[in-house]
Amino acid sequence: MYEVVHDILDPRKLLLAVSSPKDGAVVTFAGIVRDNNRGKKVLFLEYEAYAEMAAKMMARIGEEIQANWGLSGVAMQHRVGRLNVGETSVLIVVAAPHRDDAFAACDYAINRLKRIVPIWKKEVFEDGEVWVEGPSEKLEVTHP
């Protein structure tokens, strides 16, 4: 399951999608909207996605995890639209036979998502707003 959605994220859906009797560990990462960034009070965030490509790139991260760790139980959802402080912007769930691989693959997935998945956030402050720009160094992108 690799999706860009408008609705509130629910980790139970992703857990169901990845669960398998052979896996003894499931790691869930949830990204939450913070009330501050670089010392400024954040009122809310606006997320925007190039949704078709974002889903494709999330699936590619799943393929990379399959290639590196041999894990197939991966699910990711990213929410778009207006998100208030405390709401979940992204969920990544990884299942593995043992916890070490589940933690490592989940960490890989969120770092990779922040680099190659075309989603952008705008921070809205009391006195203005700004599109956040991630690191802009040359990407290493796989083309399976």
Binding site: Y50, P118, G134
Partner: protein, 81 residues
């Protein structure tokens, strides 16, 4: 030949629209199209150094030659998560 440009996030706000059909010369590269885009929208030129190019929903090099009906998106540095 016609290609389809789509804009997102900061570039969408600068363009004031989500998409644009553009007529380009055969042989035009993605990088060449970007030059035409910043002629039309000079406020986008600061992105020249940092943007990534997507053609048909996958990352592409700026040297890639465009084909009729390609969907091109110039991606500001992503900031999801």
């Amino acid at each position: 030949m016609k290609v389809r440009l789509r804009f997102f996030a900061s570039l969408r706000e600068i363009a004031g629209k989500e998409e644009l059909e553009v007529d380009v010369e055969p042989g035009t590269t993605a990088g060449g199209l970007w030059e035409e885009v910043i002629d039309r929208y000079p406020r986008m030129s600061p992105y020249t150094r940092t943007l990534q190019v997507a053609v048909n929903q996958d990352f592409a090099e700026r040297t890639q030659k465009l084909q009729p009906n390609d969907e091109i998106v110039f991606l500001p540095p992503v900031s999801g998560g």
